[in-house]
Subunit: 215 residues, 2 copies
Amino acid sequence: MILMDDPKQHLLNVAGQKFAEKGFDATNVREITEAAGMNVASVNYHFGSKEELYLETVRHAARMCEQITPMPTWEEGVPAEQRLREYIRSFLTRLLREDVPTWHRKLIMREVAEPRPGGCEVFVHSFVKPSFELLQGILRDLTPPGTPLETLHLIGSSIVGQVLHYHHARNVLKLLFSAEEFQRLQIDRLTDHIWRFSLGAIRSLCPRKSKGEGR
Amino acid sequence: MILMDDPKQHLLNVAGQKFAEKGFDATNVREITEAAGMNVASVNYHFGSKEELYLETVRHAARMCEQITPMPTWEEGVPAEQRLREYIRSFLTRLLREDVPTWHRKLIMREVAEPRPGGCEVFVHSFVKPSFELLQGILRDLTPPGTPLETLHLIGSSIVGQVLHYHHARNVLKLLFSAEEFQRLQIDRLTDHIWRFSLGAIRSLCPRKSKGEGR
DNA sequence: CTTGCATTCAAACAAATGTTTGATACGATA
DNA sequence: TATCGTATCAAACATTTGTTTGAATGCAAG
């Protein structure tokens, strides 16, 4: 039998995997409990209902996602260009790294794409918003002082959109590109491309700031 | 009663709306047939099964999506910059326009994000691939002759990612931005931003081509 | 009218699914 | 040992859900 020092935690983990794989509706409690080696009734005993179990997995995933790959922080004086690069890398790492339980981010992306009442709003405010505001701070330093907030939001969306594309469209990209080319789309390469693409775009959109060095 | 000259077509339309809204698993046939004002058995009579009805709605949506907002074509001599702009606008229009049955694109995006056996592959090859190759052609004209294919693919993904972001993240953007700002994110504004952002990025990534005019 | 065919319908069916129940086992405490 | 609270289990329950059935209906051709 698997290690089961905390059966409730074990059940949560198995359920998280299943929900991330197939979604809430397509996963039934018997499938979960069988995979966990536990009884059907354990779901309702430990969590009250399937719905509540699901919400618990989402909350757990959000906590873990933040904990395992925390958003980067910098001390005073790190140039905005470098911060942007590390932000992109950190974001991509959250989405694409394979060495860590993969169900956390899958579940979260699923929840973001199709929010379930009670699952998404709290997550957006506790996780997405701080991350997006961190990016806004970087962009403020990369653009002239008077740049309107809406422009910053548009630029931010362009960057985030590029990153997320490699998660959302992974099935399609696999069909569009050759197997070898798809294989090559690793974090390093994508970070480099998105960073250079976005930095070039920003510099072209906004008149250069005085302080930065030419590249 | 609603116009029902072709009951099978009517059923397909209602089913498409429901599937696009809530997905395959979360939609049951009674919900569909009641909304269509028809009997439960009509699904199996006309389509054989719920599964086959679903696949039919996906195929129908793909056909309609292409028909209503066809990919733009240009005669010889139209500058690549302008073609890129019209490509982006056409893409955004497919995703965001409100004046046309909205379920087609919703269903397709859902199918792309989470392919169901037999529904996605054919769609990618008949719809996504030609669209992506059209973009590749534009990008070839915007970059120096020797630019590697992989670079073109990365740039293309960056552009497509930006566009799709406003579909995928619509729920999150609604929470991140103020209601008024979200309202302002219309096709015109987004086209302009993504076009200028991407064009600036391309020009910065690749040494300028000789032929284009400065902007 | 009658025959034949396509369609619609209410009802029933069988399987799946979330949940509840009541019994049982276990472990700590007195 | 007796008692209490926790946890697990097989079984049952009540719904939901996709599908089938067989009768009824409408309509066009013979």
